[in-house]
């Protein structure tokens, strides 16, 4: 008890120095409260935003590994590359189902593509001038590429805004994944005078015909596509449908080959390496690798991350400078109080108790300053954090509106929920910026500062010989 009494006597006795220490800790505490509150709020926003994105894994070619050790300048090298690519076995639906049966995977969907020629409609094609003044024809093996999606989450072109729905049948989203319905490019529609609910007939290479009904007309977003010198957009001959229709075609007609692109939803991006190993064990060709959407998911919160990073840097700098200043003040304090230490040690105060007294002095000043600093920080942090929050809500709302517009819906429906574009409501109720977590962190920061800056006194007390001190004094 006398340790605290002595500590208090020393605080009162050294008012000037303790007020200076108090002011320094007050500034540190205010800055720390603001930065910790911003950091926590920013982390909440980031977590909330990123968690709204599904953690997606797709399968792609490991091109760099395939091209390794090959000389593309050499005709033999080029042939070897072709051979390597041709030797890779295409993924089948069975493969996808086999891979998806994993503890790391929550869900999966896929797109399925086949090629068919037009019977009732004509492929939109144009001649372009190339750089050498020759006329080239846009060419592919079949007239149309039919891309089937397993569900709405798989429709990444619409979600990302590459395709934007221009016209859509009333019940389109109710039937889009159940039958032979298609969405076609608006240019293709114009080229063939097609309207909503018209029927189109496509034909396979072996002359089997397939009929589809048009339930939507989309256009390619000029801002999001590849640069295109043609009069038509890249997707003009792309017909969007569902996987069921296409699987039905490839099952009944072995001459029509399908190309499948799966997307797996995982729990944690850190599991990707383990998942890839599991896929290889299940038979995936090692020319394939797994790729994630982590970068894309994080891109939307880059500004919040910047704020977070700034807050962290600011906090660290404040703590370092504050810690050094406090350490120096404590060093001076110890030098001034060397005699007191000598006397107290001589009359029987143990090193431990003496250390506790010096730490207690700083702790009392620090706690008072922390409380005041916390109050100042709380008042300031709310404004800063709420401003940050409002900005983020506005950005998220705009994104949500934009995506719904891509799907041809004006309201904020549930379309694509889980893809991260209908979550703005989750943010508008965050109000308590300085919460228990911040308080505990601040307490941790305060205690760490006290301990770090007390190192001077602790080491000096351990090192000082009372007799030497008193001799010097004499």
């Amino acid at each position: 008890m006398y340790i605290l009494k002595n500590a208090w006597i020393s605080i009162v006795r050294n008012k000037g120095r303790n007020i200076l220490i108090g002011i320094i800790i007050l500034i540190i505490a205010s800055c720390a409260t603001i930065t910790l509150a911003i950091k926590n709020t920013a982390n909440d926003l980031i977590d909330s935003y990123v968690s709204a994105y599904d953690k997606e894994v797709t399968i792609g070619f490991d091109r760099s590994s395939m091209m390794k050790d090959l000389d593309m300048g050499d005709p033999n090298g080029r042939e070897e590359v072709k051979e390597r690519f041709n030797s890779i076995v295409n993924l089948s639906l069975d493969d996808i189902e086999k891979y998806a049966d994993s503890d790391y995977i929550n869900d999966y969907y896929y797109t399925y593509s086949i090629g068919l020629n037009g019977q009732s409609i004509e492929k939109a094609e144009a001649e372009t001038n190339n750089n050498f003044g020759r006329k080239d024809k846009i060419n592919s093996q079949t007239d149309f590429t039919l891309t089937g999606y397993s569900n709405i989450d798989a429709m990444s072109e619409f979600i990302e805004g590459t395709y934007v729905m221009e016209e859509i049948a009333d019940n389109a989203w109710d039937i889009a994944f159940d039958g032979d319905y298609v969405f076609i490019n608006s240019e293709l529609a114009s080229y063939n005078n097609l309207k909503l609910n018209d029927k189109i007939t496509l034909v396979s290479e072996d002359s089997k015909t397939y009929e589809f009904q048009v339930i939507g007309i989309f256009k390619e977003n000029e801002d999001s596509g590849e640069p295109n010198m043609s009069m038509f957009s890249n997707s003009v001959n792309t017909i969007v449908t569902n996987t069921e229709s296409l699987v039905k075609i490839t099952s009944s007609n072995t001459n029509v080959k399908g190309d499948i692109h799966p997307t797996f939803i995982i729990n944690d991006y850190n599991d990707v390496d383990k998942l890839q190993t599991e896929f290889y064990e299940k038979g995936l060709d090692e020319s394939y690798i797994l790729e994630t959407n982590e970068e894309i998911a994080n891109a939307g919160v880059s500004s919040v991350k910047n704020v977070n990073s700034f807050a962290t840097t600011f906090l660290v700098i404040t703590l370092i400078i504050g810690g050094v200043v406090l350490f120096v003040i404590n060093m001076i304090n110890i030098r001034e109080r060397k005699y007191e230490i000598g006397v107290l040690r001589t009359i029987g105060v143990s090193k431990f108790k003496l250390t506790m007294q010096f730490v207690s002095e700083l702790l009392i000043v620090a706690l008072v300053s922390l409380l005041i600093g916390m109050g100042i920080g709380t008042v300031s942090a709310k404004g800063v954090s709420n401003s940050l929050l409002a900005n983020e809500i506005s950005n998220s709302q705009n994104k949500s509106d934009e995506i719904n517009k891509n799907f041809g819906r004006g309201d904020h429906g549930d379309l694509g929920k889980g893809r991260g574009f209908a979550v703005v409501q989750a943010y508008d109720s965050i109000d308590a910026v300085v919460d228990m977590k911040v308080l505990l962190e601040l307490l941790g920061v305060g205690l760490s500062l006290v301990l770090v800056s007390s190192i001077a006194s602790i080491t000096s007390i351990q090192r000082f010989s009372p007799l030497t001190i008193l001799k010097e004094r004499s």
Binding site: M1, G342, I347, G348, L467
Partner: protein, 220 residues
């Protein structure tokens, strides 16, 4: 039968950075009884202060042993030994200057673990016992004369009623009259309160007033 309180047995002390044969104190053996006033005399460099620091537990001897009240100092907590069993009085008083006379004494009681509530009254009684007026209780020690400060230091050393008092040149900074008064206090403590009082000194005047003198010069 002798009532030996402190035995210094073949004690030597060598500083850690000293040469092998360089001792601050070498093979010293003394015995101290309760109820007697002792003087340890010697010239500068004879090892007086070293011996004082060893018997007051501020240093540990390199060879030999010091037995206090049948306990070897090597085996006991020296902080407790200093705060409970012995009182130390220095030539330069070593009081805390930012405290009053009574606060210095009360601090010593606190360190000893004295739980009584009327510590200030006890402090004043101790001050009166060493010839200080009670009105000095709240006075900062720096506003007291040398003799008065030394009396406060003695009162502090008595605050937990130790069995032994060790004083290092306690009258070195005082005039003749005050020196005699202070020595009288020590004499009373030894003869009337059965304490063992050891005074480290080079003063012949002090040596004349004590019961027994140990001469470190003869040991060298």
């Amino acid at each position: 039968m002798k009532d030996i309180l402190l035995s210094v047995k073949n004690v030597s002390y060598r500083y850690s950075d000293a040469e092998e044969d360089e001792y601050a104190l070498r093979d010293v053996s003394f015995e101290f009884e309760s109820g007697k006033l002792y003087a340890i005399k010697g010239r500068s460099g004879s090892g007086k202060t070293t011996l004082l620091s060893l018997i007051s537990g501020l240093e540990r001897c390199t060879d030999g042993e010091i037995i206090f009240d049948n306990k070897n100092l090597k085996d006991i907590n020296l902080d407790k030994y200093r705060s409970n069993d012995i009182g130390i009085v220095f030539q330069s008083y070593n009081l805390l200057p930012f405290m009053s006379a009574s606060e210095n004494i009360i601090l010593s009681m606190d360190i000893n673990g004295n739980k009584t509530k009327n510590k200030k009254e006890q402090a004043i009684k101790l001050m009166e016992k060493v010839g200080l007026k009670s009105s000095y209780a709240n006075r900062r020690v720096l506003r007291l004369s040398g003799g008065e400060q030394q009396r406060v230091a003695i009162a502090r050393s008595l605050s937990y009623n130790p069995k032994m008092i060790i004083a290092d040149e306690p009258t070195g900074n005082l005039d003749k009259k005050t020196e005699t008064e202070i020595l009288e206090i020590f004499k009373n403590l030894a003869h009337e309160e059965n304490k063992c009082v050891i005074i480290v000194t080079h003063s012949e005047n002090v040596c004349k007033m004590v019961d027994k003198v140990y001469d470190l010069d003869k040991k060298k």
